[in-house]
Amino acid sequence: MTKNVILSIIEDPYILSISILGIIGIFLFLILAKSRKREPENYLPFLLLALVFFYENLGSYLMVNKAFNQKIHEWLFDVPFQGWNVWSFNLFYSQVSKVLFLLIILNHIKGRKLKKVTYGLLIFFLILCIGLQWSGVEPLYGIQPIIYSIGNSFIIFACGLFFIDLITDSFYLELDPLKLWFFWFITLTLFQSSLVFLSEVSFEYLAFRNKPLYYSLVYISQFLYVSMMLSIVVKFALEKFFPRPKTALVHA
């Protein structure tokens, strides 16, 4: 069983990259100074990295260990098990990771009004997720197109707010954006979310009429996702090996 799980991870370059980056990132975060770990600037990306590492590997494991998958499914839901692990994707990728993305963006917005709007998006998204699942409109074990597309749109919108803040807030106007890790992270997030949004909107057309294009969009979005995780690992490595003064680090 373990061999099969490891094989399934090694065979998929995306999951393999996420696993390697996850291990390195978690290790780097753990060896950071305590004061640095407590900063949202560090622990939010860490939570995201750890979450992605966890759910991607969990997904692979559930696909191999069907019995365990069925056990969890039966424990969580009253509907018959059909061999999917979509609940893990829905819960961790479509919901928790989107909340973490919004929190990371929120943490880097300085303008009061823009911060309020982003906070509003976050609260609205949480209420929407709970409401749609609670009411049974989009149960956790099924496909959740509304939550998925709204999550992506909110992230795209929040990224837009961040870029507005970047060119208007006097705090960011004193800094060089190319030297800010979150500038790269949020740019990648914007493009990844836009790409996923586009491929989801055009899924039915692409899946039946233009499969190669659909797969290329999926591969590119996976590549961007790996790049985002890589940017987090690089950030932790820089924090550890080239620490900057605390004030500069918190803001830049």
Partner: protein, 251 residues
């Protein structure tokens, strides 16, 4: 095989397109950011120049006022004391001569006190509460009107430049009240609320319709001066009910 080739071609084309798009986006963001940065720096420089100009004007005004006061003091007080001292010292009576010496001592004290007001060092040594209290005492001592001060001392820790500007603004507000309002009472309240601290200058004089715009630049200048130190100037006035001026500074 053909499908795989197709997939690869699509991957390369869409990957290149996305990379180009991302590159354009990043370059555009950086260019936009740089432009804004330059504009922001120009704005900051302009504000600095304006701030320094305001400060210089205020220093000039305070010095001018001080010189007028010194002239008045020399003529009305020290001049009189010197005449009295001269009269007494010219007398042959020993008690008159002693009185004359007392006058001389008093003159020395007065001249020392006066010399201290000639430069602006007093601004650093005096707290806002002390300054306002002196100003109100001065007004009350002339019998013009009653005054009162209620303070939680939240303005006592201020940098010299900010203090100078506030002193001038308060002086101007008090002068306006004396000149135009004919109040029975002028009261000042200093307090802190949340992240702001305020000075409220209230009189129960004639008041005026604050919605009518005047040609004078007095109130505009006061507002501008408060802005240079990151503060706000608010005025509300009702005919027959007096005027309330609030000077706000962030903590």
């Amino acid at each position: 095989m053909l499908e795989q080739d197709n997939e690869l071609a699509f991957l390369i084309v869409s990957g290149t397109f996305l990379t180009a798009l991302m590159g354009t986006f990043i370059v555009a963001m950086v260019v936009l950011h740089r432009q804004r940065q330059v504009q922001n720096r120009q704005k900051i420089d302009q504000l600095k120049v304006e701030y320094e100009k305001t400060l210089l004007n205020i220093e000039n005004e305070i010095q001018q006022e001080t010189l007028t006061q010194v002239g008045r003091e020399l003529h009305d007080n020290i001049g009189q004391l010197l005449s009295l001292a001269k009269l007494n010292l010219n007398s042959s009576k020993p008690e008159k001569q002693a009185e004359g010496k007392d006058y001389i001592n008093q003159i020395i004290k007065e001249v020392r006190a006066l010399s201290k007001t000639l430069n602006l060092d007093w601004v650093e040594s005096i707290t806002m509460d002390e300054f306002i209290s002196h100003q109100l005492e001065r007004i009350q001592s002339t019998g013009f009107c009653k005054t009162s001060l209620d303070s939680d001392h939240s303005f006592n820790q201020l940098p010299k430049d900010q203090k100078l500007i506030l002193i001038r603004v308060i002086q101007e507000c008090l002068n306006n009240a004396i000149k135009h309002a004919q109040p029975d009472t002028i009261s000042i309240r200093i307090y802190q609320k949340g992240s702001k601290r305020s000075i409220e200058i209230k009189d129960d004089g004639k008041g005026f319709d604050s919605s009518i715009k005047t040609n004078g630049s007095g109130l505009y200048n006061l507002s501008k001066r408060m802005e240079t130190v990151g503060g706000k100037f608010n005025l509300t006035s009702v005919v027959g009910k007096g005027t309330l001026i609030t000077l706000e500074l962030p903590l």
